[in-house]
């Protein structure tokens, strides 16, 4: 085990340095007062120029949130969060209330995204990918809007959708993740600032990949994004989100809510590459990523597929789920969760089978190194109405070094006799033999570990859209140099 120990140590030495996105953009900000009360909620709503119904919705959520307690069942440990010591809104002053045309965006912001590898000018962009760029609490730019509008696809900041498409928002917002779903979702409902709204009309295959790039920049500030994606009957959309944040000693809260609605025959493919700042090698700093993501396969034959590559954050608490309501609907969850140093991840999915002949598939790859704890927590629930439901779950854990932990917590509820549920789980280590073999063939230690772990994750990496698969593979490599062994 000596070689592995050394790798882990070497990797730990490099951690923090290897996080390339840790810079801060020096830009003048407008913030809400520190802390949270009715006025904070009103302030955010006013900043967004929201209609009265939205404000009321938020205030009700805030009312409910005050009666709720923070969940403590996850296998994560962190000091108590002082919710009155956070800024709930921060936006670059130059942005004003609404996102402008690209030409009007503050060059400092454009520079920031360029540094992050997300050039926002359309001619320089990855062909075929439209981007919504969210900086702290506001969307600063959305690209390719005109081209998408031609196809009838709405792709805009949610704050804009609330103003411009109130009927659609009213019809779907909070219908997948109810306002009172859980502590963090309720908090989000009260103070969410920006996020992405997507509507794909009936029978339309979205002509390009849609993506949102979330950036936390301001200190002491929480980011509360809200994303709502609706795929109308027979439509298809593929969406990807990426996230980064500066290196700071403090912990910052990111409490997002994502709702997906797939109507009859529609398909939504939702991919995440989460690379929030993970904290340093001592476990200092990093993002608390407390996120509620859920998709509703509302119509017959609809399909929702979640793919996530989680490499960042000090703590990840996240269970992208599918409600398989429509008959013959399909839910998929493909996950890679990498934790190193003192990172903690408690992540998995819920597959709720309600309709007949519903099928779900779960592949989870957890990689732990350093002193990290990595938990897969998943629920497969087959309701009495779900005749002939099928599930296949595969959970694989890979341990690097002797001080980390991997845990698998599957919950299975079958209330219909025709259900077929399969669960497979494995735990393995990178062996000295594998490492030596790679070294002998000339592959240096860190590259060898990256190669072996990428192999371990192959089934999931293959699920990512082509444009991002290579990036994700590199990220796994970098995390292996910098956040994993």
């Amino acid at each position: 085990m000596a070689a592995v120990r050394e790798t882990t140590e070497r990797v730990a030495d490099l951690a923090g340095e290897k996080y390339k996105y840790g810079f801060v953009t020096d830009i003048e900000m407008v913030r809400a007062e520190r802390g949270l009360n009715d006025d904070t909620v009103r302030f955010i709503s006013a900043k967004k120029g929201e209609p009265e119904w939205m404000l009321q919705w938020r205030l009700e959520a805030f009312q409910r949130w005050q009666e709720m307690t923070e969940p403590n069942w996850a296998r994560v440990h962190y000091p108590k969060i002082d919710y009155q010591n956070i800024y709930y809104y921060a936006a670059p002053k130059s942005q004003g209330a609404a996102p402008k045309n690209l030409e009007d965006v503050d060059p400092k912001l454009l520079e920031t995204y360029k540094k992050l590898g997300i050039p926002l000018s359309e001619q320089k962009m990855l062909a075929g990918v439209a981007v919504d760029a969210v900086f702290d609490s506001v969307s600063v730019a959305t690209t390719f809007k005109a081209k998408l509008t031609e196809a009838g696809v709405i792709f805009c900041p949610i704050s804009e959708a609330i103003r411009d498409y109130p009927d659609l928002v009213k019809k779907y917002l909070g219908t997948v993740v109810p306002v009172t779903d859980n502590f963090f979702a309720t908090l989000n409902s009260a103070v969410f600032s920006d996020g992405t709204f997507v509507y794909v009309p009936k029978g339309v295959r979205c002509p390009m990949e849609l993506s949102t790039y979330f950036r936390i920049n301001a200190s002491d500030t929480g980011q509360f994004e809200r994303t709502l994606i609706i795929a109308d009957e027979g439509s298809y959309v593929s969406y990807l989100e990426g996230c980064t944040a500066p290196k700071r000693d403090e912990n910052q809260l990111h409490a997002a809510v994502v709702e997906l609605v797939a109507l009859g025959g529609a398909e939504i493919k939702y991919s995440t590459v989460q690379n929030w700042y993970p904290g340093d090698e001592e476990g200092k700093g990093g993002i608390y990523n407390f996120v509620t993501k859920r998709g509703d396969c509302r119509g017959r034959g609809s399909k929702i597929s979640w793919t996530q590559v989680e490499t960042g954050s000090a703590i990840t608490w996240k269970y992208p789920s599918c409600i398989l309501r429509g008959d013959d609907s399909v839910g998929e969850f493909y996950s890679i969760a990498i934790t190193n140093n003192y990172q903690q991840a408690d992540t998995g999915t819920k597959m709720i089978h309600l309709g007949r002949n519903t099928r779900s598939r779960i592949i989870s790859k957890g990689i732990s190194a350093g002193r990290a704890q990595n938990t897969y927590r998943g629920l497969v629930s087959v309701h009495p109405s779900a005749e002939n439901a099928r599930n296949h779950t595969q959970c694989d854990s890979l341990l690097i070094g002797g001080n980390c932990g991997a845990h698998t917590v599957p919950y299975i509820e079958a209330r219909n006799q025709s259900a077929k549920i399969e669960h497979e789980a494995t735990t393995s280590k990178i062996s000295d033999d594998q490492l030596f073999y790679c070294l002998q063939r000339g592959i240096p230690q860190e590259e060898a570990v990256a190669l072996i772990v990428n192999g371990f994750c192959r089934d999931v990496l293959q699920q990512l859209p082509m444009e991002f698969a290579v990036e994700a593979q590199k990220l796994v490599g970098i995390s292996l140099e910098g956040s994993v062994g």
């Binding site: 000295d432 030596f436 002998q440 063939r441 000339g442 592959i443 190669l451 192959r458």
Partner: protein, 249 residues
């Protein structure tokens, strides 16, 4: 010039001395065999030459092309042209063989300051070498060694040897677990790589392999020492008398 020069080499594994003063030289262009009974230190010798962690050189020297090998890491040795075909090639699940070959080839090239090969050129190179070893496209697209038969694994080792073109190739019990057809195929692959600029060290328990890969010299390893050296006939002699006779001598 001697490609490999081992001088009074002592090696300790987990606190126990396994090699107790080995002296052995292989000139460029020659193939030497090291034979010996189980536990004589054959595998220790091969791992030590490759630089595996845990094989501690407590005395003596290893010179490769006149350079001291001992301080170099295994990957640095590989980039300089030291290749070890393992007795038990390791499975690497999920890593497609071609990807592995390209990664290794380019890592070596990078270490030597040579330009990396792109996917197309690598593929062409691999295909060219694979045909002779009857390694088909399907095998190259499968994860490395995962689910390969014993023969396939050994052929894959020889393919890598052909691809990396080492100047010092060590073959550790490459014959173990092979039937006669597979053995012939592997031996042909090895013989095709014999060259005036390359030295080979073939480590084996049995004479069988040496009927197909005929060595220039044979050394008998017993109890961590070379107890006898001779020409190719020595292997045949051993086949008749067994190791006991030699050890006693």
């Amino acid at each position: 010039m001697n490609m490999l020069e081992i001088d009074n080499l002592h090696v300790t594994v987990q606190g126990k001395e396994i090699l107790k003063g080995i002296t052995l030289s292989i000139p460029a262009g020659e193939v030497h065999a090291v034979m010996g009974p189980n536990g004589s230190g054959k595998s220790t010798l091969s791992y030590t030459l490759a630089g595996r962690e845990g094989y501690e050189v407590t005395g003596g020297h290893i010179y490769y092309k006149g350079e001291d090998l001992v301080p170099l890491s295994p990957d640095a040795r590989a980039a300089k042209g030291v290749f070890l075909a393992l007795q038990y090639p390791v499975e690497i699940p999920g890593v497609v063989t071609l990807t592995f070959l390209k990664t290794a080839l380019n890592a070596q090239r990078r270490a030597r300051g040579e330009p990396e090969l792109d996917a197309m050129r690598t593929l062409r190179l691999v295909r060219e070498k694979a045909t002779a070893l009857k390694i088909n496209e399907d095998m190259l697209r499968r994860p490395l060694n995962a689910g390969f038969s014993g023969g396939e694994k050994k052929r894959m080792e020889i393919l890598q040897m052909a691809l990396f073109e080492p100047t010092l190739a060590i073959l550790d019990e490459t014959d173990s677990g092979l039937d006669i057809d597979a053995l012939k195929l592997v031996a042909e692959g090895v013989n095709a790589l014999r060259s005036p600029s390359r030295a080979m060290l073939v480590i084996t328990h049995y004479q069988r392999l040496l009927s197909y890969i005929v060595p220039d010299r044979v050394h008998v390893l017993a109890g961590g020492r070379i107890v006898k050296s001779g020409g190719a006939d020595l292997a045949l002699e051993l086949e008749k008398s067994g190791y006991e006779g030699v050890e006693a001598a």
